[in-house]
Amino acid sequence: MAEKFHTELKNLKTETLEMAHLGRFMLRTAVDALIRQDPDLAESVIVRKGEIHDLEVRLEEHCYHLIALYQPMAKDMRAIACTLKMISASLRIGRYGKVIAKIAKELADRPHIANLMSIPHMADLAIDMVDDAITAYESDDINLIKDFSARDDTVDALRHSIFREGITYMMEDPKNISRCTHYIMVARYLERCADHACKIAENVHYMETGERIEIK
């Protein structure tokens, strides 16, 4: 029975990784659509909303089945607890991708202000964190997440800087208000994605060591 359980747990982790990669893909593609002002690319993200929702329901149910049928203990229990968090975080990241894709469609008609300010750079940093969190979950390697606190601080600082820059452009010309508000919102969503990466990292740390940490 233990062998069957461990095979199922492995399958669960594989499927959860697929979901995490889908969430990450939606975010990356949405940012690319925003940068390239490509409404078709943006639409290709929006249509995957249902898929990631279905995965959330199916994988959560898989977790509950494993708990109900096998009463996992120790690292197995922690792996399922971490997987449940991973599923929620992946859904959130995918949904932020969808929201950014909608903004990308709206902002495709006119050139960007100031080349999107620091949004492309901020997106790279946030998505790198998501990548490392996913890889840490996949490979059980907590070294990948050890500098997350500092990386999250950088992402937070960029959000603040985009906010201030956006306000400056708005004050210069009220016609910029709508577009810059969208930029500020995108920066906010990217910051939230980095926060979700931190949450995944905290849970991977718990899965691996049994100890709780808080990435501030």
Binding site: M1, A2, P72, M73, A74, K75, M77, R78, G210, E211
Partner: protein, 253 residues
């Protein structure tokens, strides 16, 4: 373990003839708690349990070294009254083993042996013990019926009542639910939870979920050694030893 210990073992070793069954076991059993001993078959958990009331004395060619104390007194010092020790440290076995007597007599037997003669006293002890064992309501109208007519779960609770009747400090349980169905098991588990208010319970179980459900402390044994002992939550959530981790996650055993 911050609570005061009722039983301690210090470097206990035990041999059955040449075969070493316990190896340097040192642990503390905190008072008024439930401690579970888990481990694969043959790891020494029942042997360790039987050390606590010297039941191993009844087996030929057993040699024990090290120290076991109950209430800070070494239970192996010459002159230890073993009957009194077993009154203080009662035991419930795997298979319910009521005497072929009435329900009343099963419970009254122990107090009678220890000198209680007054009928009113015996009546009071029988009722109180059956109530403590959560059996009173089911048997109060048929106390004179044979104990052998009870269901397996009821028989096991009767055995617990019989143990309680001599007012022990510690109750040892060796796989008390392994012969019972899930409903009877749930009743015994509820009972164990109630008993810890007044008694210290040490339970040997193969069922890890049961250990997790009923105990506050868990000791994991393997090949005669106590590998790890600690709070049950810690053992089942993040054990310190890899061997414990592998056992409780079903990777061996």
């Amino acid at each position: 373990m911050s609570e005061s210990a009722i039983i301690t073992t210090n470097n206990v070793n035990l041999w059955y003839n040449e075969k070493r069954a316990l190896e340097a076991v040192s642990m503390k059993i905190p008072k008024n708690t439930v401690t579970a001993l888990i481990g694969p078959s043959g790891c020494g958990k029942s042997t360790l349990l039987r050390c606590f009331n010297r039941l191993n004395d009844l087996i030929d060619h057993v040699k024990i070294t090290g120290e076991i104390t109950l209430d800070n007194k070494n239970i192996h010092t010459p002159g230890t009254d073993v009957v009194l020790l077993r009154k203080k440290v009662g035991m419930v076995f795997q298979k319910p083993n009521p005497f072929p007597k009435s329900i009343y007599e099963n419970v009254a037997y122990g107090p009678r042996v220890h000198g209680v003669k007054d009928k009113a006293d015996l009546d009071r002890i029988v009722e109180q013990s059956l109530r403590h064992a959560a059996l009173w309501d089911e048997v109060k109208d048929r106390l004179n019926d044979s104990a052998l007519g009870l269901s397996g779960g009821q028989q096991q609770r009767l055995c617990i009542a019989r143990t309680l009747a001599v007012e022990p400090e510690v109750i040892l349980m060796d796989e008390p639910c392994s012969a019972l169905d899930p409903i009877a098991t749930a009743k015994i588990e509820n009972l164990i939870d109630l008993l810890k208010k007044d008694y210290t319970v040490i339970i040997v179980t193969h069922n890890m979920q049961q250990a997790a459900r009923v105990s506050e402390y868990t000791g994991f044994m393997y090949l005669g050694k106590l590998i790890e002992c600690g709070k049950t939550v810690q053992i089942f959530e993040h054990p310190r030893e890899e061997l414990t981790e592998n056992y409780i996650t079903g990777r061996f055993g």
